[in-house]
Amino acid sequence: MHAAIEVRELTKTYAEGAASSRALDDVSLDIHAGEVTLLMGPSGSGKTTLISIMGCILRPTSGSVRVAGREVTSLPERELPAVRLNHIGFVFQGFNLFPALTAQENVELALDLKKIRGAEARRRARTLLDAVGLSEKSAAFPADLSGGQKQRVAIARALAGEPEIILADEPTAALDKTSGRTVLDMLRRLAMEEGRAVAIVTHDNRTFEYADRIVRIEDGRIGEDIRGNELRALEGAEI
């Protein structure tokens, strides 16, 4: 396993008028390929800030982030979209599908960003929807899909760019138990079978059994980093 994302001595400070608040404080963390990493912690602990910085959406105040071996904190703003496009797929709590587009078109949109269009885009989108078990829903609009189905479309969309990293923010928060398990199964398979690095921000204890590692964040700092047997002991328990 190599680190798909390497975070070193990361600090993020938000200015609040004359004052400032530190959302992340000296965070160092590796997200590995072929592994599901849970980022857990109470609200306001810095999880979303961390995933935003790892996803090259937000700039850190200091520290370094390497994505697929490339230092990204020093890259100019205009080069960051390409890093996201080529290496990272996002799965959001609120699905963030485009309501005006069908399931298939939502996936095709991600392909369009990679300049894959026309018949090839349609073929690939169908394949991806088939992979998440939604081939029969390709013409449906998001409003006509259940929460679980929406999230599966979102996963298909995240995979369209063939990223080696999947960053998921509370992917099961809006789902029932069955749908949540289906989504987590998929994310797990992406790590196990396809060797992708999967990082999930979550409060959901049901996700423990799908994790290879749990990183607990408190007040902007890494609290615990739990793996292996220690993790198995936690399964089913509150953290």
């Binding site: 979303t48 800030t49 995933i51 935003s52 996803g55 959406i57 937000l58 205009r78 979209p81 390409a82 890093v83 996201r84 496009l85 080529n86 990272i88 996002f90 959001f92 709590q93 609120g94 963030n96 485009f98 309501p99 005006a100 587009l101 078109e105 949109l109 991600a110 369009d112 960003l113 969309r157 760019g161 923010d169 509370e170 928060a173 809006a174 921000v201």
Partner: protein
């Protein structure tokens, strides 16, 4: 992605209706205000513009057509003697008093010209014949002002300056800026209606021979005939227009209304396009997270703005055209010539794209946490 831009636009029908209503309102507002401005501008000088004369000779110091000062008609013969002059005719425009058949009075602008000449006569004649004006005591008026003048048909008799006047024809759409209807008649009739002496004229209309240098004729008039000015038609037209539009409060009011219409239009369009973009701000944030470049997102926003502009303009200009069409028989003329329509399309597009630029500025500063909020 073209389809995202268009599909987003048409997905929320209510939002689309609000956006288009804003743009249509702006297009109609701006078009009508500019059309009114052009209508007023054109009306102020329409008598000059339709005179078919190359030069207007006036008494010295006459600044615009309504304040012509009588001078001796002998100067006509001096003008005719100048090389290059193909034709010169006496011409009168004076305010007069029109006594309606019901006994009421209203002011009018008496226009006296030579019915045998093609200079200075009425245009847009809808009933009657200009040659009828060779008969004594005959006039042609416009249907727009028929009610005001108290006449409804050819053959009716009124009085102007206590002199009998019989209506022998009607024009259609010959407007006046001064609210005093134009009354076309022969030069001789006009002298009596306007209370001028038999040897007086107010203007001389001059037509240059083909190939003759109009400016040279003008210079010769100025140097050889004392007490007159000579103006090329376009110059005299602009002098008259400038007086009414800028020398009086009326024109300034119209201009201010047009400018205000433009400003309100810009603000309404900016607000609606901005609001429409902000409605999709989360989607643009998602696109950014997915790796879309700013250029990709800009193109979507610009495409939406362009489509909105095209539809909004299309509907708006139809409504404005209907307003212009119906104004033909109203008190105020709305003119929307092709160049104005084209400019208005450019303006609408510019308004929408400018508003989109403001939205783009907002999109580039999207809070990344936005896309992660449930």
């Amino acid at each position: 992605m073209a389809s995202l831009a268009v599909r987003n636009l048409f997905h929320d029908k209510v939002r689309l209706a609000v956006t288009l209503t804003g743009i249509i309102f702006s297009v109609v507002l701006v078009a009508v205000q500019i059309g009114l401005f052009l209508g007023f501008t054109t009306t102020t000088s329409n008598v000059i513009d339709n005179s078919h004369a190359d030069l207007w000779v006036t008494a010295k110091g006459v600044g615009y057509i309504e304040v012509g000062v009588p001078f001796s008609e002998k100067k006509l013969y001096h003008v005719r003697a100048i090389p290059g002059v193909a034709e010169a005719q006496k011409y009168i425009l004076r305010f007069g008093q029109w006594k309606r058949p019901d006994g009421g009075n209203t002011s009018c602008e008496i226009i006296g010209f030579d019915p045998d000449s093609d200079m200075g006569g009425p245009w847009s004649l809808s009933e009657g014949d200009v040659r009828s004006l060779k008969l004594p005591d005959t006039v042609i008026v416009d249907r727009l002002y028929a009610q005001k003048l108290g006449v409804t048909r050819v053959g009716q008799t009124v009085e102007i300056h206590d002199v009998r006047a019989r209506v022998v024809g009607f024009t259609d759409g010959v407007r006046t800026f001064t609210t005093s209807p134009l009354v076309f008649t022969s030069f001789k009739n006009a002298q009596r209606y306007a209370g001028l002496n038999n040897d007086q004229t107010v203007f001389l209309l001059v037509k240059a021979a083909p190939g003759a240098n109009v400016e040279r004729i003008r210079e010769q008039i100025l140097t050889s005939i004392p007490g007159v000015d000579a103006w090329p038609k376009a110059r005299f037209s602009s002098m008259t227009t400038r007086y009414w539009m800028f020398g009086t409060g009326a024109g300034v009011t119209v201009i201010l209304a047009a400018v205000l219409g433009l400003l309100v239009g810009v603000v309404v369009v900016a607000q609606t396009i901005y609001a429409a973009t902000m409605d999709h701000i989360r989607e643009f944030g998602t696109l950014k997270a997915m790796g879309a470049s700013n250029g990709y997102i800009y193109r979507i926003i610009m495409r939406q703005a362009t489509v909105s502009a095209v539809i909004g303009y299309g509907v708006g200009i139809v409504v404005a055209s209907l307003a212009a069409f119906s104004s033909r028989h109203g008190g105020a003329n709305i003119l929307l010539p092709i160049p104005v329509r084209a400019a208005l399309f450019g303006l609408t597009l510019a308004m929408c794209l400018s508003a989109a630029m403001v939205s783009i500025n907002k999109v580039t500063k999207i809070d990344p946490a936005l896309v992660f909020k449930g």
